[in-house]
Amino acid sequence: MTSSSWYRYSSPATFYPIAGRLIPWFGWAAAVMAAIGTWIGLAIAPTDFQQGDAYRIIFIHVASAWMSMFMYVVMAAWSALFLGFNTRLSAMMAQAMAPTGALMTLIALVTGSLWGKPTWGTYWAWDARMTSELILLFLYMGVIALRNAIDDPRRADRACAVLSLVGVINVPIIYYSVKWWNTLHQGSSVSLTAAPKMAMTMLTGMLIMALAAWFYAIAVALYRVRVIMLERERGSAWVGELQEVKSR
C-alpha cells in the first residue's frame, strides 16, 4: 500500500462510513460474548476451593482490568501517531478512547473492592497494585479534564497527547506491581510465560468475558469517534453530505 492511500484512510470523511459499517458487528459480538461469558461464569463454572462463589467476580474484574490497561496503551499509541504525523484521525481516536478506558478502570476498581471485602476482609488497601490502578483512573480523568479545559481543539489534541504518553509508564507498573513489591493483591493467574493457574471452565469463561470487553470497547470507541467527527467537522462539506445530517 502506498503512503498516499494510508493518508486517504486517515481522513475522517473516508473513515466515518467504514466505522459505521463495523459498529454493529462488534456490538453484537460483544453482546453475545458477554451473555455466554456471564452464563459460564455464574452458572457453569464450579465453585472455588478457597473462596466459594465469591471468586465469580473474577469474570468481570479481570476482563475490565486488562481492558483498562490495554485501552490506555492504545490511547498513547494514537497520541504518538498524532504527534508524529499530525493526522486528525489519530487525535480523534485517542480522544475516543479516554471515557471508555476510564469506565473500564472504574469497573475494575469497584469489582475489585467488592471482591476484596469477602476474601481479604477489606474493601480497600493502599498496596502497589490498587494504588497504581487508581492512578490510572486519575490519568484518564486528567486527559478528559485537559480536553475540556482547552477551547482550541488542536491545542487540546497536543496537550492530551503529551499527557497520555507521559502516563503510559504507569501501565507496566500496574502489571508488574504484584511481582516487584509485596502486595495484598495476588499474582497473575494467567500469563504468556506460564501455564494458567485456573481450572479449564473458569479460564474459558474468563477469556470469553475478556473478548466481550474487547468487542465492546471497539464498538463504543468507533461509535464515539464518529460523534467526535460530527462535532469537530460540522459545517464541512462531507458532514453536510451525510444522509443522517441531510434527512429531517
Partner: protein
C-alpha cells in the same frame, strides 16, 4: 434456583459486581446516543443548506 441467587452467601458482592457493571455500561451507551443526537442536530444547523432554509423561513 434460590441457591443460585444466594451465591453461597456472597450474593451482595457477586450480584453487586455484575449489576454495577451492567449499570455503568448501559449509562455509557445511553449517554453516547444522546451525544450523537446533539452532534447531529448541531451539524444540521451548521450546514449551508439549513442556514438558507432558516433564513427563507424567517423572510
Amino acid at each position: 434456583m434460590n441457591e443460585f441467587f444466594a451465591m453461597g452467601g456472597y450474593a451482595f458482592f457477586v450480584w453487586g459486581s455484575f449489576g454495577a457493571t451492567a449499570f455503568v455500561v448501559v449509562v455509557e451507551m445511553v449517554a453516547l446516543r444522546a451525544r450523537r443526537r446533539r452532534a447531529l442536530d448541531e451539524a444540521r444547523l451548521a450546514t449551508p443548506d439549513s442556514l438558507t432554509a432558516a433564513t427563507q423561513g424567517v423572510l
